[in-house]
C-alpha cells in the first residue's frame, strides 16, 4: 500500500491539472475533495432572473478524509424533507461507500468553503472559462441551485429530481473511478481488476485492499470523469432503502439549531410592528412609554415598519405594544369582497390569454349534456411553525447573516443589495428551517432584518411574532374560475376554464392550468389579475387551486355522464402513469366496497412536478354538518423512490397540509387588514382529527419526480367529492365552513 495518507498540501490551486470546467478535485486535509458542477441545458429551465440562458448549476460535493469518512455537502436547505439524506444516498450508492461512514453537511458551512479562493477554486477550477452570468452563483462557492430554476425554491420538489439525479449520482461515480485509478496505479494492476465496495477498493487476485480514505489523496491527482458509468438500478443497495435521516438525532434532543436559536455575542433582540393596513406608512411614533421600560434599547423607525430592540425578545415585544404608532394611508378600501369583485369584473372584461386550446369547444358545448360552474379559493397563509426571523451582524464592510432560507444565494444577494455591499462580503450561515412551504423563499424578512441592523451598532436577532408572521405573509392567492364542460356518449366532449391568475410566481412551464384528462375540445384561458396583497409560492400553490377546480368539476362531469367517478377518470386517462395510479387507487382505497353508514369515498388525481398522485378520502358527516376525515389513501408515482420512509413522510405531511386548508384555511381582508392573526383563527389539524393514512408507491425505475408538494393538491377535491356524496351539496368554495359544514 502506498503512503497515501501523507498530506499533500498545496500552497495554491494553480498546479491543479486543468479539468473540465464542470468538475474539479483537490486535496483537502490529506483527502479527496471532489466537486461537480453541472449546467444541463436540456433541462429547459425558465430563465427570468439573474442568469441569462437556460443554464442551471447543480453543485455537488463530496469529501473523503484519511480516516475513511465521507462527507456529502448538499446544496439545499433542510426544511423537513430529508433531502440531505436522500441526496447522500444517491451519491454513496454510486461511490460504493459504506453508508455508516457517510455524514451530511448543508453547504456552505466552513470558512474555507464560503469565502476563500480555495472554495472558489474547488468549484470552478483554475483557469476555467466561466460565463460572466454565472459569477453571482459561483462566488463564495455557493452551493445552490440557481434561484430561477423554474421559479422554484429549494425543496423536496427539486432536490432529488435535479440535484440528486444529475449531480449527486455522477459525483459519486466519478469519485469511485478516481479511487480505483489511484489503487490501480499504486498496485500496478488494471483498473478493471479492482472492485469498490463499502468504502474499500479490493484487488481480488492478490488479496490487496485499501480504504477509500487511504487512497483519497492520491485519487485527487486524477481528473474527475464527467460522464462516469452509472450503476444499474438493479444493483442498488443504498438507494431505495429507508435509511434513517441523518438530521433526526439532533431533532429529538433539542440541539438542532434553527434560525431563531442563533446567538451572536453582543446581540440585542428586536420585535417589529408592520403596517396593520396594507401599504400604510408610519406618520408618527410616540416612543416615550416604550423607551421607559427596563431593558429596552432603541426604537427604529423605518417608515414602513418600526422595530424596538431590547435585552430580551419578550421585552422588545412588550415595548412594541407600548409604542404609540400613527399609521397613515394604505389600502383601507381593500377587502375580500373587493378582491373578489375585481376577479369577477376581470374575468368578464379583462384580457383573456389562451393557455391551452384545441378543437371546437363552442360547437361541442352545444351538444350532449353541458354544465357550468364557478369555483373559488381564498388566500392562505403558510404558517410555518417557526415564525420568520433573521439575525444580522454587521462589521465594517462585512455582514454575517443567519436566516432559515430556501434560497440562500438570492437571500445573500438581496441582503448585499440592501447594504450596498458586494455579495462576496455577505456570509450566509446555514441553519435548519422550521418549515418553509415556499414562505422562506421570499426576501422580505431578510431585508427587514438587514435594515434594522443598519440602524444599530450591535448585532441583532429580529423575531416576528406569530401575529406579525400571519398578517404579513406572502399568501397563496385567492382566485376564481368559471368552467364549462359537456359530456356525450359517456365521454367528455368539451372543457373550458376561464380563471384568474393572481401571479403566485409559479412559472407557466409547470402547466398547472392543464386539464389532466383526455378531452378533444379544450379552451383554457386566464386573465392576469395580480393580487393587491403579497402572494407567493405555497406548497404546490397553483396546483392546489387548479387541482380543486378541475378535480371537483371532473366529478360533476362524471355525474352528468352517469359514470363512476373513478372509472370515468381511468377512461379519460391515456397517459399510462396516470392511468396506473388511478387503477391502483381503486384497488387500495376500498372504492366500490360497502362503507359504514354515513361514510363515503371521494377520489382525485393531480400530476405535478413530475409526480402523479391519486388520493381517496373516506369521510363522514354528522346530521349537524360535522365532518370527520377517517382515512386517506395515497397512490404515488414519483419515479424511483430514493428513501421510502422519507418519501412516505412527505406524502402524509402533504395530506395534512392540504386537508388543513380544506377544513379550516382562509385568510380574509377587511378594511385593508388581515383578519386572522394566530392559530385559533387560522386553525390547524391536530392529532385528534388527523386521519389514518396509507401511502402506496408505484414500483418504478423512472427518474425521480418531486415529492415535497405533489401530494398536497388532490386531497382537497377528494374530500369535497366525498362530501358531495354524503350531502348532495357540491362544494365550490373553500374552506368547507362556507358550505355550512364544520370539523366534527
Amino acid at each position: 500500500m502506498s503512503d497515501t495518507t501523507e498530506t499533500k498540501k498545496r500552497s495554491t490551486l494553480g498546479k491543479w491539472t486543468r479539468r473540465s470546467f464542470l468538475a474539479t478535485a483537490g486535496v483537502v486535509g490529506g483527502g479527496l475533495a471532489l466537486g461537480l458542477t453541472l449546467s444541463p441545458n436540456r433541462l429547459k429551465m425558465a430563465a427570468d432572473g439573474a442568469a441569462t440562458g437556460d443554464e442551471v448549476l447543480l453543485n455537488t460535493w463530496v469529501k473523503v478524509t484519511p480516516d475513511n469518512k465521507i462527507t456529502v455537502f448538499f446544496p439545499h436547505s433542510e426544511m423537513g424533507q430529508g433531502a440531505g439524506t436522500g441526496l447522500a444516498q444517491m451519491l454513496a450508492e454510486e461511490m460504493e461507500a459504506d453508508w455508516d461512514t457517510v455524514s451530511i453537511v448543508q453547504a456552505p458551512v466552513t470558512e474555507e468553503y464560503t469565502n476563500s479562493d480555495l472554495g472558489r477554486g474547488y468549484i470552478v477550477g483554475e483557469g476555467a472559462n466561466i460565463p460572466a452570468f454565472m459569477y453571482p452563483m459561483l462566488d463564495f462557492a455557493f452551493f445552490q441551485i440557481a434561484g430561477n430554476l423554474v421559479g422554484q425554491m429549494t425543496g423536496g420538489s427539486t432536490a432529488i429530481r435535479l440535484t440528486g439525479h444529475h449531480g449527486m449520482r455522477r459525483a459519486g461515480a466519478a469519485a469511485k473511478e478516481m479511487l480505483l485509478q489511484a489503487a490501480a496505479a499504486d498496485w500496478d494492476v488494471p483498473v478493471a481488476s479492482l472492485t469498490a465496495r463499502d468504502s474499500m477498493v479490493t484487488h481480488e487476485a492478490s488479496g490487496r485492499s485499501a480504504t477509500f480514505g487511504a487512497l483519497a489523496a492520491q485519487a485527487a491527482e486524477y481528473s474527475p470523469n464527467l460522464k462516469p458509468a452509472l450503476k444499474d438500478s438493479a444493483a442498488y443497495r443504498i438507494v431505495g432503502t429507508a435509511k434513517p435521516r441523518l438530521d433526526l438525532p439532533e431533532k429529538v434532543n433539542g440541539t438542532a439549531q434553527f434560525g431563531i436559536d442563533v446567538t451572536v455575542p453582543g446581540m440585542v433582540y428586536a420585535a417589529v410592528a408592520l403596517p396593520p393596513i396594507r401599504d400604510a406608512r408610519v406618520a408618527a411614533v410616540d416612543d416615550s412609554a416604550a423607551l421607559a421600560r427596563p431593558g429596552v434599547g432603541q426604537v427604529v423607525n423605518l417608515g414602513d415598519a418600526v422595530a424596538v430592540t431590547a435585552d430580551s425578545y419578550w421585552t422588545a415585544s412588550r415595548a412594541i405594544e407600548a409604542l404609540g404608532i400613527t399609521w397613515s394611508g394604505g389600502q383601507t378600501e381593500l377587502s375580500s369582497a373587493s378582491v373578489r369583485a375585481q376577479h369577477v369584473s376581470d374575468l368578464e372584461g379583462g384580457d383573456l390569454e389562451e393557455m391551452d386550446a384545441e378543437g371546437d369547444v363552442a360547437g361541442a358545448l352545444g351538444q350532449g349534456t353541458s354544465l357550468k360552474a364557478e369555483y373559488e379559493v381564498p388566500y392562505l397563509a403558510h404558517a410555518t411553525m417557526e415564525p420568520m426571523n433573521c439575525t444580522v451582524s454587521l462589521s465594517g464592510d462585512r455582514a454575517d447573516i443567519w436566516v432559515g432560507h430556501q434560497n440562500q444565494l438570492f437571500a445573500r444577494n438581496a441582503a448585499a443589495e440592501t447594504l450596498g455591499m458586494e455579495p462576496a462580503n455577505v456570509t450566509m450561515h446555514p441553519v435548519y428551517l422550521g418549515g418553509g412551504f415556499g414562505r422562506r423563499g421570499d426576501m422580505d424578512f431578510v431585508t427587514l432584518g438587514v435594515r434594522i441592523a443598519q440602524s444599530l451598532d450591535t448585532p441583532v436577532k429580529v423575531i416576528w411574532s406569530r401575529e406579525t408572521d400571519m398578517t404579513n405573509d406572502t399568501y397563496r392567492p385567492a382566485i376564481l374560475a368559471r368552467m364549462e364542460g359537456a359530456v356525450q356518449n359517456g365521454r367528455i366532449s368539451a372543457f373550458s376554464n376561464r380563471y384568474i391568475d393572481a401571479r403566485s410566481g409559479m412559472p407557466d412551464s409547470e402547466r398547472p392550468f392543464d386539464f389532466q384528462y383526455d378531452v378533444p375540445n379544450r379552451d383554457i384561458a386566464r386573465v392576469i389579475c395580480p393580487s393587491p396583497i403579497p402572494v407567493g409560492t405555497w406548497r404546490a400553490v397553483d396546483f392546489t387551486q387548479m387541482g380543486f377546480f378541475h378535480e371537483s368539476f371532473m366529478d360533476e362531469l362524471a355525474e352528468a355522464a352517469g359514470a363512476d367517478p373513478l372509472q370515468f377518470r381511468i377512461d379519460h386517462s391515456g397517459n399510462p402513469r396516470r392511468r396506473a395510479v388511478l387503477e391502483r387507487l381503486g384497488a387500495e382505497s376500498g372504492w366500490g366496497e360497502t362503507l359504514p353508514e354515513g361514510q363515503a369515498i371521494g377520489v382525485a388525481m393531480v400530476d405535478s412536478f413530475g409526480t402523479v398522485v391519486g388520493q381517496a378520502v373516506h369521510a363522514g358527516v354528522s346530521p349537524d354538518g360535522g365532518v370527520t376525515v377517517h382515512r386517506v389513501v395515497s397512490v404515488v408515482d414519483c419515479g424511483r423512490v430514493i428513501n421510502p420512509s422519507a418519501a412516505e413522510a412527505q406524502v402524509t405531511g402533504s395530506v395534512i397540509y392540504g386537508l388543513t386548508s380544506a377544513l379550516y384555511g382562509e385568510i380574509t381582508l377587511e378594511g385593508g387588514a388581515i383578519r386572522q392573526t394566530n392559530f385559533p383563527d387560522y386553525e390547524m389539524i391536530r392529532l385528534e382529527n388527523a386521519p389514518e393514512q396509507s401511502v402506496h408507491f408505484i414500483d418504478s425505475d423512472e427518474a425521480p419526480g418531486g415529492l415535497g408538494e405533489p401530494a398536497v393538491p388532490p386531497v382537497t377535491p377528494a374530500l369535497t367529492n366525498a362530501l358531495y356524496k354524503l350531502t348532495g351539496n357540491r362544494i365550490r368554495n373553500l374552506p368547507i365552513t362556507k358550505s355550512g359544514l364544520h370539523v366534527a
Binding site: M79, G80, Q81, A242, P244, D247, L248, P249, E250, K251, V252, N253, G254, A256, Q257, F258, I260, D261, T263, Y269, P294, G295, S312, Y313, W314, T315, S317, A383, T384, M385, E386, P387, Y432, L433, G434, G435, G436, F437, S465, R466, S645, A646, A649, T652, G653, V655, I656, Y657, T660, N678, F679, P680, M684, I685, R686, L687, E688, A690, E692, Q693
Partner: protein, 153 residues
C-alpha cells in the same frame, strides 16, 4: 428581585421582569434553545416544558409563577442515552422540520409518566400540539412504541 427554581437538575436564580414568560427566560437567559416559540398564546405547544412534572405551555407562564418549582426542558431528556420516547421517535422517523418536536416529546413524556398505556383517545386528548409538517400519524405510532419501550424498561 431574583427568582429561583430548579432547571434540569440545577438550581438557577434569575433577575428578570417577574412577568417574563418562562420560555424566554430559559431560551435567552439560560441559553437553552431546544424549547421553541410558535404562537405566544398557548395555542401550539411548541414551548412545552415540565413544571413539577406537568407538561406546561411556557410562552404564557410568568417566571414568577415557577419560583421554587422544578423545570425540565428537552435538554434534560436523554441526554446521554435517548429516552424511550426519543428512541421511538427515531425508530418511526417522526420529525420533518423538527421545530415542533421538542414540545411534542415533552408532552408525550408527561403523558406516559401519568398514563403508561394510553389509548388512541387518551393520546388525542393529551397531545394537542400543532405540527405544521403533519407528522401526526408517526407521532401516534411512536407514542405506542415508546409506551411499550418504557414497560420493557
Amino acid at each position: 428581585m431574583a427568582i429561583s427554581f430548579n432547571l434540569n437538575g440545577n438550581p438557577v436564580s434569575v433577575d428578570v421582569d417577574p412577568e417574563m414568560p418562562l420560555l424566554w427566560v430559559v431560551r435567552e437567559t439560560q441559553g437553552l434553545t431546544g424549547t421553541k416559540f410558535g404562537c405566544g398564546i398557548a395555542a401550539c405547544g411548541a414551548c412545552t416544558m415540565h413544571v413539577d412534572g406537568v407538561a406546561t405551555r411556557t410562552c404564557v407562564l410568568p417566571v414568577e409563577a415557577v419560583a421554587g418549582a422544578t423545570i425540565k426542558t428537552i435538554e434534560s431528556i436523554g441526554p446521554d442515552t435517548p429516552s424511550a420516547v426519543q428512541d421511538a421517535w427515531l425508530t418511526h422517523q417522526v420529525p420533518q422540520c423538527g421545530y415542533c418536536q421538542s414540545g411534542m416529546i415533552m408532552a408525550v413524556e408527561a403523558l406516559l409518566d401519568e398514563n403508561p398505556t394510553p389509548s388512541d383517545a387518551d393520546i388525542d386528548d393529551a397531545i394537542t400540539n400543532i405540527c405544521r409538517c403533519g407528522t401526526y400519524d408517526r407521532i401516534r405510532a411512536a407514542v405506542h412504541t415508546a409506551a411499550q419501550l418504557r414497560r420493557e424498561g
